[in-house]
Symmetry: C2
DNA sequence: GGCATATAGTTAGTTATGCAACTAACCAAA
DNA sequence: TTTGGTTAGTTGCATAACTAACTATATGCC
């Protein structure tokens, strides 16, 4: 059990996720400054749809690590913003396939640029090796708990 | 600029903070299973008060990386639960000093035990060196953006 | 003392999250 | 085909977050 001797402070910094909160806040701020009027949560949904358009809500739940009500409401808001459309599946009428609108397609390049800038701000001064190790640890933590 | 060549997937896993979300959810679940009826956010405030009782709300903002309205409402809810008390400072009447109640003092040992168990679940299979590197990276990210 | 400014905290409005309960559609076994 | 269980999505309720605007107190400069 090599992990039993963790001290409180270490524990706490892991628990709270200050780093990811800080990244999300900065991304939101950078979106705003670029005149992009979406939330980072909405962006995280669009992100997966840019990779693969026409996902079901359940697939978006898995992809974004959110529960079903969260996705329902995010899709609600994205629909209000005319960025996505719900289309009932022909094969299985329980399912909504979520499709990007023209306007959402246009957002991809611009938002990804802002996201990359934000990430570079965040990772300034961090070595490539350590970033890789950090990613690996976070992935393991996620796998341990999901 | 060693960080410019990041690929989307890497970027995204950093952005979303799935690992910290997963830890927070697991901690909440473990609290519930132990019969502890507080939220992880409330716990994070109590955590700092256990270290130093009688902090002001502004100090709690800095410590927990939350804004003032968030702390106002967390303290509201903690007061409703009779876990803390607001006491107006004599030196500066703008300030509320937040004090733990007897009941909150009793919660420390039990919740810290649950938190330690949760952390061990999360970090199972991760080497001590890599945990240290990961912490270091997250701290740097936080410092870059805060 | 009096006025401008800064700081501590609150309130209001919108968005997001988690949980539980619900509806609708699908599916498989009797 | 009917019944019972499962899956996809929605709704209601409570908590929490960010922004902006607000009140009240303190401070510093004239």
């Amino acid at each position: 059990m090599p992990n039993n001797q963790f001290k409180r402070g270490e524990l706490y910094s892991f628990m709270t996720g200050k780093a990811s909160t800080a990244i999300a806040r900065r991304l939101q701020k950078n979106f705003k400054q670029s005149g992009i009027e979406i939330t980072v949560e909405q962006w995280s949904v669009l992100y997966h749809l840019w990779k693969q358009d026409g996902m079901s809500q359940q697939e978006l739940c898995n992809a974004t690590f959110r529960d079903k009500p969260s996705i329902t409401r995010l899709v609600d808001n994205l629909e209000k913003l005319k960025l996505v459309k719900r289309v009932a599946s022909k094969d299985d009428r329980r399912m909504n396939m979520i499709y990007l609108t023209e306007e959402a397609l246009k957002l991809e390049t611009q938002t990804m640029e802002v996201a990359n800038i934000t990430l570079n701000e965040a990772l300034e001064g961090v070595s490539t090796e350590n970033i890789a190790i950090c990613k690996e640890v976070l992935q393991l933590v996620y796998d341990n708990l999901k």
